[in-house]
Symmetry: C2
């Protein structure tokens, strides 16, 4: 079973990587960019028997820092 | 207009970050993980007038290294 896990910073958490991208886009002459937030995408191939609780556990224990990040799991 | 840009390593390109996550999941006792690939997710808010060509250009010039990475743009 293929999974896509999206890890994004919670709203309000400062995002220096996003800010750097935003500034660099401006420097390259791209207009009209209002905001940029950077996150992570983790693609996983897991055994079909893996249940939702285990996937949730993986995210909470390793993949996302739930103090400052949200995560969303999508089955492909 | 909100965009989500997914940047992933091309198949065959070595992914040390993915390998590290895979190993760490094993170390935490999670069974049945076959493969892990790490990528980037960039969420952007751009002016509605921004056309596809400009977005494509942003990805090719800054957001993705097209030698080793693929990108996909999704409008939210």
């Amino acid at each position: 079973m293929k999974l896509r896990i999206f890890v994004t910073l919670k709203p309000g958490v400062l995002d220096p990587q996003g800010k750097a991208i935003h500034k660099a886009l401006g420097g390259l002459g791209f207009e009209g960019v209002n905001d940029v937030r950077a996150g992570k995408l983790i693609e996983m191939d897991v055994a079909d028997a893996t249940d939702d609780a285990a996937i949730d556990d993986m995210c909470k224990k390793l993949l996302a820092n739930t103090v400052i990040e949200n995560f969303r799991v999508e089955r492909v």
